[in-house]
C-alpha cells in the first residue's frame, strides 16, 4: 500500500514542471553574474564618497570636451569636469533616489492594497476611488505637480515619484489579494481561530511577494528614467550635483560633437536596469518554495 501511495505521488508532475523547464544552474549563473554587476555598481557608488579620480565638481574650462583618453578615461564635459568621476558620484545619487522611491511606493502601496483587497466593502471602494483618480493622471504629471509644491531636491524627487507610483502597487497587490482570499487556506486560517489581521499578515502578504518583486524591479527602472526626465525638465536634483539622469539631459546639446557625454551615463542606466530586472527574477524564483528545493 505504501508503494501505491508513493506511485500516486505522480500527480505532482504538474507542480514540478516549472523546475524542469528552468534548469537551475543556468538561472543561478545569470542571477549570480548580475548580482556581481549590482555589487560592482554599489561599490562604485560607495567608493565615490571617499575617492574619485578628479573632483567631480571642479570646473576646468581649459579642458572642455576632451574625448576619452588615458588621463580622462571617459572624457570631460562642457565645463571640463571629469565624466568618470561624475558617473561614480552620480551612481550614488541615482541608485539611492531609485531605491528610496521604490521602497516608499511598495511599502505604502502594499499596505493599502492589502487593506482594500482583504476588507472589501466600503474600505475597498473608498481606497480604490482615490487610487483610480490618482491613476488617471500620468505619473509624470503627478510628480511634476508634487515637485512644484515640495521644491526640487533629492528627497523631493523621492516623495514625488514614490507617490506617483503608489496607485500601481495598490492595484497589483489588491488583485493578487482578491484571488488569494478565495483560496481554501485562508478559510482554514479563519477556522483555526486566527484573527483577520494575523491571516492577512501571515498567509496573504507572503503570497503577494512574487508579483511585488517583479513590480519593484521594473519600478526601479522607471524611477531612474523618471529622475532623468525630471532633471531634463529642470526639476531634478539641482546642478552642479551629478546624477545619471541630469548628465544625460545636459549632454543633449553636444550629442553630435561630444557623443561620449550622453553615451556613458546612458550605458550605466541600461546596465543598472538590466541587472536589477534579471536580479529581481532570480530573487523571485529563489524566494518561491515551489522553485527552489
Amino acid at each position: 500500500m505504501k508503494t501505491l501511495s508513493e506511485m500516486a505521488a505522480a500527480p505532482t508532475v504538474e507542480a514540478k514542471a516549472p523546475t524542469q523547464k528552468r534548469p537551475l544552474p543556468f538561472n543561478a549563473l545569470i542571477g549570480g553574474s548580475l548580482l556581481i554587476v549590482l555589487v560592482v555598481l554599489v561599490v562604485l557608488a560607495v567608493a565615490g564618497i571617499v575617492w574619485t579620480p578628479y573632483d567631480p565638481l571642479r570646473l576646468d574650462l581649459a579642458n572642455r570636451f576632451l574625448a576619452p583618453s588615458w588621463s580622462h578615461i571617459l572624457g570631460t564635459d562642457e565645463f571640463g569636469r571629469d565624466v568618470f568621476s561624475r558617473i561614480i558620484i552620480g551612481a550614488r545619487t541615482s541608485l539611492w533616489i531609485s531605491l528610496l522611491t521604490v521602497l516608499l511606493a511598495i511599502s505604502i502601496g502594499t499596505l493599502f492594497g492589502l487593506l482594500a483587497g482583504y476588507l472589501r466593502g466600503w474600505t475597498d471602494r473608498l481606497l480604490m476611488m482615490v487610487n483610480d483618480a490618482l491613476l488617471a493622471f500620468p505619473g509624470m504629471l503627478l510628480a511634476l505637480g508634487l515637485l512644484a509644491i515640495v521644491g526640487a531636491s533629492q528627497y523631493g524627487i523621492v516623495l514625488a515619484l514614490g507617490l506617483a507610483y503608489i496607485p500601481t502597487v495598490v492595484r497589483v497587490v489588491r488583485s493578487t489579494v482578491l484571488s488569494l482570499r478565495e483560496r481554501e487556506f485562508i478559510e482554514a486560517s479563519r477556522v483555526i481561530g486566527n484573527s483577520e489581521l494575523y491571516t492577512m499578515w501571515r498567509h496573504i502578504a507572503p503570497n503577494c511577494v512574487a508579483p511585488l518583486i517583479v513590480l519593484a524591479t521594473s519600478m526601479f527602472g522607471w524611477a531612474i528614467l523618471s529622475e532623468s526626465a525630471l532633471s531634463f525638465l529642470g526639476l531634478g536634483v539641482p546642478p552642479p550635483a551629478a546624477t545619471w539622469g541630469n548628465m544625460l539631459a545636459s549632454s543633449r546639446p553636444h550629442l553630435v560633437t561630444a557623443p561620449w557625454l550622453g553615451f556613458f551615463p546612458g550605458l550605466m542606466i541600461s546596465i543598472a536596469l538590466i541587472g536589477i530586472n534579471l536580479f529581481g527574477d532570480a530573487l523571485r524564483d529563489r524566494l518561491d518554495p515551489r522553485m527552489s528545493r
Binding site: 500516486a8 505521488a9 483560496r183 481554501e184 477556522v191 483555526i192 481561530g193 518554495p289
Partner: protein
C-alpha cells in the same frame, strides 16, 4: 469479435518524456471494434490520459510517441502529417474533456461553439448547421434549444455543460469518442445523467468509446472491455465480466478492494447532542444588478438536525443542495439569516464566546488550495496551537511530531512544502491540522473527492482510525454514497436546501423513503463483493 476488423488497434505503444526521459506509457496493446466501449482504468500518473492523447495526436510537448503503432481505420495515425491529423480530429475522433467548467470558451455562445466543428469539417451551409445544432440540443434534453444556442456557457451547470460538450462533439458523428474522465468533476446524479446520454448518443451513431477513468466501478457498468493501467503498463485487460469475476493481477484486486463497503453496523452512540441545528435558513445575496441587488438565493431552507458527540453524520446531496453552506455555518464561516445553532449547549450565533471555534475544525475538499504554499508542513500543523494557552515551543513541536505520526506521515515531511507532497499526503496534513487541537467536532467537506480510488480508501481508513483514537464527532459532507456508507453512523439527505431524509445508515441505504434518495442510490456505486472474492453488479443498479 475477432472477425470484425478493429476500428482502432494500438500495438506496442511507447510514450516517452522528451527523448531520454522515462516511459509514460510502456508497450501498450489494445483493440477496439466499431461501436465497442473500452475502458482505460488507472490512477493519476498511470499513463491512461497520455495513451488517449496519443490516439488523437495531442500529446503535451515534452511527451512523444517513441515507438509502436496506432492503427485507426486502416492507417497508422503516428505517420500522418499535421494536416492529415487535423482532418481526423473532430470528424473521425472526438474528445470530451474532464473539466466542463473550462472546456467551453466563456466568450462564445453555445451555438457558435457547436457550429465550429461542422464548419471546419463539412461543406454544410449555415442553415443546415443551425438545424443540426438545434436538433442535437433537443436530443440531449434542452427544453429551449433556440435560446440555448444564443446563451453563454456560464449560464449552465457543470452537468449541463458536459452534455453540451458531448453534443457538440457528437454532432460530427465521429467513429471514435475519447472520454477523458468526463464525469469526475460532477456529482453522482449529474454523472449518471451524462453517462447515460453518452451511451445513448453513441449507440445511435455506432460510435466506439474509449473511456478513461480512475473509477473502476463506474466503468465496469458500461464497458465491454477493460484495460487496467499502472505505471504506464497494461497490468490486465480483457472482457469486463472476466475481470470482475476473477481479477488476476494483484493491482486490479487492490483497485476493486478500494471500493468502500459498509462500515458501522452498530447504531449511533446515544448521547446528548453536541451540535443542535434548529430551523437554520441561509441565503446568499442576490447578484448585484444595475441599481438593486437581485433576489437572494436560499441555499439552506429551515434545516434542523443534531449531531451527537462522537458520531459521524453524513450530509449527502447533489451540488447546489446547500450541504456545504450548512457545514460552513457550523464553523462560523457563514452567518445564517434565521435559526439557531447550539454547540455544547451554547448558542454560537448569539454568544460572543469564540470558544466553540477552537472545538470545531474543518477539512476542505481541495488539498492543493487548502494549504498555504509558502508554509512548511510543520508550520501548517503548528498553527492551530497558537490558540492553545500555556503551550511551550517544545510542547508544540512534540504535538506536531505526534500528529504527523498519527496521520501516517514520516517525520521528514515536517520540513517540506505542500507542493512536494502528493494529493493524498496533503490531505493527511489537512486532517492533521484539523485534529491537532483535539476538537470535539470536525466538518469534512468532500475530503476525498479530489483523490484517486486507492488513496480514497487509505484516507477513509485513516479517518476511521483517528475517530476511534480522538473521539471527535464528524459532519461528513459528500456526494459519494459509497464512502458515506462506509464511514457514517447516520445519513442526512439534502435536496435544494431542504433536508428530505435523515436516519441511520442502514435505514437510508436499505429502505430509502424519499424519491430523491432513491435516485441518488440508483446512481451510486453498483459493485458488490461476493464471498468467493469475485465482484458483481448490484442487481438494483444494473442497467
Amino acid at each position: 469479435m475477432d472477425t470484425v476488423k478493429p476500428l482502432l488497434r494500438v500495438s506496442n505503444l511507447c510514450i516517452q518524456v522528451a527523448t531520454d526521459g522515462p516511459l509514460a506509457v510502456d508497450h501498450l496493446n489494445f483493440d477496439m471494434a466499431p461501436g465497442e466501449i473500452v475502458a482505460l482504468v488507472g490512477e493519476s500518473g498511470s499513463g491512461k490520459t497520455m495513451a488517449a492523447r496519443a490516439v488523437i495526436g495531442l500529446l503535451p510537448p515534452p511527451m512523444r510517441v517513441a515507438s509502436g503503432r496506432i492503427e485507426f481505420m486502416g492507417s497508422d495515425l503516428c505517420t500522418l502529417s499535421y494536416e492529415q491529423m487535423r482532418a481526423v480530429r473532430g470528424s473521425k475522433i472526438g474528445m470530451v474533456f474532464q473539466e466542463p467548467m473550462v472546456s467551453l470558451n466563456p466568450t462564445l455562445t453555445i451555438g457558435q461553439q457547436m457550429a465550429e466543428g461542422l464548419r471546419l469539417h463539412t461543406d454544410l451551409d449555415e442553415k443546415t448547421i443551425l438545424a443540426r445544432s438545434l436538433e442535437m440540443l433537443r436530443r440531449i434534453g434542452i427544453d429551449d434549444p433556440q435560446r440555448c444556442l444564443n446563451a453563454f456557457p456560464h449560464e449552465f451547470s457543470g452537468g449541463m455543460r458536459q452534455r453540451i460538450m458531448l453534443a457538440s462533439v457528437m454532432l460530427l458523428r465521429p467513429k471514435l469518442l475519447i472520454a477523458d474522465e468526463p464525469t469526475t468533476a460532477l456529482d453522482t446524479l449529474a454523472q449518471a445523467d451524462v453517462i447515460e446520454l453518452m451511451l445513448e448518443l453513441t449507440r445511435e451513431e455506432g460510435t466506439a468509446i474509449l473511456f478513461i477513468s480512475h473509477d473502476l466501478s463506474l466503468v465496469v457498468r458500461h464497458a465491454h472491455k477493460v484495460v487496467v493501467m499502472h505505471n504506464g503498463k497494461a497490468i490486465e485487460s480483457g472482457p469486463t465480466q472476466q475481470i470482475l469475476l476473477g481479477p488476476k493481477a494483484e493491482y486490479t484486486r487492490q483497485l476493486l478492494e478500494a471500493l468502500p463497503t459498509r462500515g458501522h453496523l452498530d447504531s449511533a452512540p446515544v448521547a446528548k447532542p453536541l451540535v443542535d441545528i434548529r430551523n437554520v435558513t441561509i441565503e446568499h445575496p442576490g447578484r448585484q444588478g444595475f441599481l438593486f441587488r437581485g433576489k437572494p438565493k436560499r441555499a439552506v431552507d429551515e434545516v434542523s438536525l443534531q449531531i451527537a458527540a462522537g458520531e459521524t453524520l453524513a450530509l449527502v446531496g447533489g451540488s447546489g443542495s446547500g450541504k456545504t453552506t450548512l457545514g460552513r455555518s457550523v464553523v462560523g464561516l457563514v452567518n445564517p439569516q434565521a435559526g439557531e445553532i447550539f454547540f455544547d449547549g451554547i448558542d454560537i450565533l448569539k454568544s460572543a464566546n469564540r470558544e466553540h471555534r477552537l472545538q470545531c475544525q474543518m477539512i476542505f475538499q481541495d488539498p492543493v488550495s487548502s494549504l498555504d504554499p509558502r508554509a512548511r508542513i510543520s508550520q501548517i500543523l503548528a498553527e492551530p496551537l497558537r490558540h492553545v494557552p500555556g503551550l511551550s515551543q517544545a510542547g508544540r513541536a512534540e504535538r506536531v511530531r505526534t500528529i504527523l505520526h498519527d496521520v501516517g506521515l514520516s517525520p521528514i515531511f515536517a520540513e517540506r512544502f505542500p507542493h512536494q507532497l502528493s494529493g493524498g499526503q496533503r490531505q493527511r496534513v489537512a486532517i492533521g491540522r484539523a485534529l491537532i487541537r483535539h476538537p470535539k467536532l470536525v466538518i469534512a467537506d468532500e475530503p476525498i473527492s479530489a483523490l484517486d480510488m486507492t488513496i480514497q480508501k487509505q484516507i477513509l481508513e485513516l479517518f476511521e482510525r483517528l475517530q476511534k483514537q480522538y473521539g471527535f464527532a464528524c459532519l461528513f459532507i459528500s456526494h459519494d454514497l459509497a464512502a458515506v456508507e462506509r464511514i457514517a453512523h447516520r445519513v442526512a439527505v439534502m435536496q435544494q436546501g431542504r433536508l428530505v431524509e435523515i436516519g441511520t445508515t442502514a435505514q437510508v441505504f436499505d429502505n430509502p423513503q424519499h424519491a430523491f434518495t432513491h435516485r441518488l442510490l440508483a446512481a451510486a456505486n453498483p459493485l458488490v463483493r461476493r464471498d468467493d472474492g469475485s465482484y458483481q453488479l448490484r442487481s438494483s443498479a444494473a442497467l
